[in-house]
Amino acid sequence: MSETYTLYNPTVMDHFMNPRNMGDLKDADGVGEVGAAACGDIMKISLRIKDGRIEDARFKTFGCGSAIASSSMATELIKGRTIAEALTFSNEEVVHALGGLPPVKIHCSVLAEEALKAALEDYVKRHPESASPVIVAGQSLTA
C-alpha cells in the first residue's frame, strides 16, 4: 500500500499514538475518574494545583482512539489555568483543538470534560478553603 489512510484526522491520530501527559501524578491534589454509560469507556485525570492554578495534569484512559486523544488534548489545554478558568472548560474546546471528531465520538470529549471536573471536585473536597474562587466563577461543582 503506497498511501496510509487513517480513521481520524492527523491531530487525533498524533494524540492517540503519542499521547501527552499520560500517566499518574504522585501526590496529586485532585483525582477524577469517570465512565461513559453509553460505551463503557473510563477516564482518569490527576491534577497538581498550586496557588489556585493547575500546575500539572495527567491522564489514563480505557477507551477508543478518540477517547485517548481527547484526554491527551484536555490535559494539554488545562495546564496553567486557574481553577475558576478550568471550571468553565468545555468539551467543545477539546473537539476544536483536535480539529474535529466523528459525530459518534463526540461523547469521548464530554468524558474528558467530566473527568477534569471530577478531579477539580475532588480537589475542592480536600481543600474547602479553595471553594471561594469557585463561587466567584459562578459555577456549581455539585450540579
Binding site: G35, A37, C39, F62, E114
Partner: protein, 422 residues
Amino acid sequence: MTRHVFLDHQSATPVYPEVFEVMKPYFTEHFGNASSLHQHGLRVRDALRTARQQMAALIHADSEEEIFFTSDGTESSNLAIKGAAYANERKGKHLVVSATEHPSVMNSVEFLEKQGWTCTRVGVTPSGHLRLKELEAAMTPQTVIVAVHHVNHDIGTIQPMKEVGRICAAAGVPLYVDCEASAGWLPVDVKDWGAAMVSFSPHRFYGPKGVGVLYRNKRARIVSILHGGVQEGGRRAGTENIPAIVGGGKAAEMAIGRLTARGEHTALLQRRLWEGLHSRVSFIKLNGPVPGPERISTNLNISTEFIEGEGQLLLCDLSGIAVASGSSCVSKSLKISHVLGAIGLDHALAQGNIIMTLGEGNTAEDIDYVIDSFAGIVTKLRAMSPMWDEFECGVIDSVIAPTGRGKSFSQHAAEVSGKASH
C-alpha cells in the same frame, strides 16, 4: 518496510487472478443484459447458467435451477426470511432463529415483528453452540421458517447442522442456513442437512463483491421482496450483475478443489496464532470453541483484559495488521456485538475484543509477526489504562483469572459512570 498482514478474511478476500480473468470480457465485449432476447443477451444467459452450475456444485445442490443470484449475503438472508414469512403467512406468523445469527437475519426478524410476526430466539451455550432442546421446544404449528447459521461470523462456532436439520424435518419446518462464514472453506451439503434454503457469498472465498447466492429447494415457498422484472425465476427482480456472477462461479469451482488445503493451511496458522498469543499476552481469552472440529479454522476471536478493542485495532493497523473488533467503540451503534452478549461474555471482555480471520495468503512468518506486534500493543495500551493500574493495586479483579482481590470491572465501571453522564 512494514509487513502487511491481512487478518480480516471474514470481511473480504482478494479476487483470484483466474477469477478476474474470466470476469473481464463481461465488462466489455459481453456486456449484454440477460433479459435481452438477442445474441448479446443469449450469450450472457449461457454464462449465468454455467455460474449456477458451479454454485450448485459447491453446496451439493441437485440442480442449477435451485440457485438464485442476489447482490450479497444481506440481500440473500432478507429474501430467505421475509420471502418465506410472506409466502407462508396463511400457515402462521412465527419464526425461529438462533440468538447469534448475522444482523441481516436479526434485523429482518425485527422488521417482521413490527408487522405482527412473532419470533423465538434460541439461546446458545458459552461456546456458541445452539441449545438443541430449546430449538425443539421453540417449534409451533405456526412456525414457517427456522434460521440457523452454519458457522458464526464472530466466534467461528460450527453448528451441528445435521442435528438441526433433523429437528426441523421432524417438526416439518423449512430450515434456512446462512453459510456466509463457511462456504468455500468448509463442506456445505444442502441435502445432507435437509436445508430448504442456504446462502453464501463469493467475496468470502476469493471471488468478487456484488453477488450473493441463495439456494432454494424447489419445495420451499418464498415470494420476491424486490419488485420489477421477471429475473431469477420471479424471485428477485433486477438486472443480474453478470461479471460478478461469472467470477463468483469460477471462485466456487476453484474452492471445491482447494477446500481441504485451505482447511489444513489455516488450521496450522490458527493454532500457531492462538498458542503464541496465549503464551505472550497475560489475561487473554479465546471466545468460542478451542481450535478443532467445533470451530472454523479461519477464525480467532479474543478478548484482552483491561484494554479496549478499537485502540488495539488502530495500533494493529498502524503495524500493517488488518483485524476487526466486536467492541462497542468500533460499532456505529456504540453497542457490543450481540454474539458476545449471547454467549454471556462479561462486558469488560467484550470491550477488549479483537477478531482475526485467516486466509490462504497468510504465512507462519506473518503469524509470528502478529504475535510479536500484538504483545507490544497490549503493553502500550495497558500502560495507558486506568483499569490495568487498578487491577495491579487490587482495586478491581480480573474476569479471566480472578485473584479474589477487589471488585469486578463492571461494578467499578458502574460506580464511576454513576456520575451524571450525557
